[in-house]
């Protein structure tokens, strides 16, 4: 057996240890395998933010599928609704095996973590340094190098206010007011840039 084959077999054996997997559904992101993640502080009427970081290999399935090699960072923002308006039912709390769920802190999971989504994210930012290929609701792309993509999916018949700063993603603001509730909601005051 040549040395090349031994190295190849060794790399293959190590692959499951470094491969992160994510299964994306409308209700939650299921992180299986090694991944870093961070959650915002959940508060009524405010946006929920989920940050994930995968290195060096990521397999995705569900609503978005593909294969990425390198560094993959993803910020997903689920919007809040003004307190005066009907609130969507609360999502189940985050759940992890052998990992923490304390908000605003980076955690590492090596087994499983479930990041619940109260509703479909309004905004997603996905940054990849390396190579990726895949498709789904977020994007259909193959890239090699640096790629940073944001996408906003507005709700139908609603007023949206979104502020995002990549240096402080957990401070993002996202509020959606349905058209039917606009009269009962104070007009948002635009903040200075």
């Amino acid at each position: 057996v040549s040395t090349g084959w031994l190295i190849f077999a060794g790399c293959l054996a190590l692959l499951p240890l470094v491969s992160g997997c994510v299964w994306r559904t409308q209700e939650a992101d299921h992180l299986i395998g090694p991944a870093f993640y961070r959650l915002s502080q959940t508060a009524p009427g405010q946006a929920d933010i989920v940050q994930t970081l995968h290195v060096p290999l990521l397999l995705e399935g569900g609503r978005q599928w593909g294969l990425s090699l390198g560094v993959v960072k993803r910020d997903a923002i689920v919007p809040g609704h003004p307190p005066q308006t009907p609130q969507p039912p609360p999502s189940s709390p985050p759940y992890g095996i052998l990992t923490g769920v304390e908000p605003r802190k980076w955690h590492f999971t090596s087994v499983y973590f479930r990041a619940p989504l109260r509703e479909t994210p309004l905004f997603i930012r996905r940054t990849v340094i390396g190579t990726q290929g895949g498709g789904g609701v977020e994007q259909r792309a193959f890239s090699l190098g640096y790629s940073s993509v944001t996408a906003t999916w507005p709700r139908e018949h609603a007023l949206h206010e979104l502020e995002f700063d990549s240096r402080h993603p957990l401070e993002a603001k996202a509020v959606v007011t349905p058209a039917a509730d606009m009269e009962t909601t104070p007009t948002p005051a635009p903040r200075n840039q």
Binding site: G66, G133, F142, S143, L144, Y146, T150, T152, P154
Partner: protein
């Protein structure tokens, strides 16, 4: 031997690109920004495949209009009223003017109609646009 390697490479690349060609395109109202450096092959809804080699920065809005469906008093063919502000700095630095800054304030469908008819909303949209203009003027070199 070399031909075999080339064939394998072509097969691998074809496999990676297949999802781009096969994925269905659904009509979605969407706003997007992207910064790419390197090779990128991507496709957005209702658009052809875009191939980029090198550096590219894009800000895009996709506002599909339903086919054969006109707006009525109770239904809307996707009116959008909004202000958008996107500012890019060095993505690898943490300075005040670095990273990606994004501010969007917009209304869709019947909410856009209601906003257009409301004096408060018109003022809010006007103030948001003015704040963006002031920011642009003050950050010009």
């Amino acid at each position: 031997m070399r031909q075999n390697q080339l064939s394998r490479g072509a097969l691998l690349l074809g496999g990676l690109l297949l999802p781009l060609l096969g994925a269905g395109c659904k009509n979605h109202l969407a706003f997007a920004t992207s910064t790419k450096f390197g090779l990128d092959i991507s496709q957005k809804a209702n658009q052809t495949i875009d191939v980029t080699m090198g550096y590219q920065r894009v800000e895009a809005a996709s506002i599909p209009v339903p086919a054969d469906a006109d707006a009525t008093d109770t239904n809307d063919a996707y009116s959008v009223l909004g202000t958008f502000h996107v500012y890019y700095g060095d993505p690898f630095k943490q300075g005040e003017n670095d990273g990606l800054h994004l501010k969007q304030f917009f209304a869709t469908g019947m909410a856009a109609r209601a906003a257009a008819g409301s004096a408060n909303m018109r003022a809010a949209f006007g103030d948001a646009a003015a704040a963006i203009k002031v920011k642009q003027d003050t950050t010009k070199p």
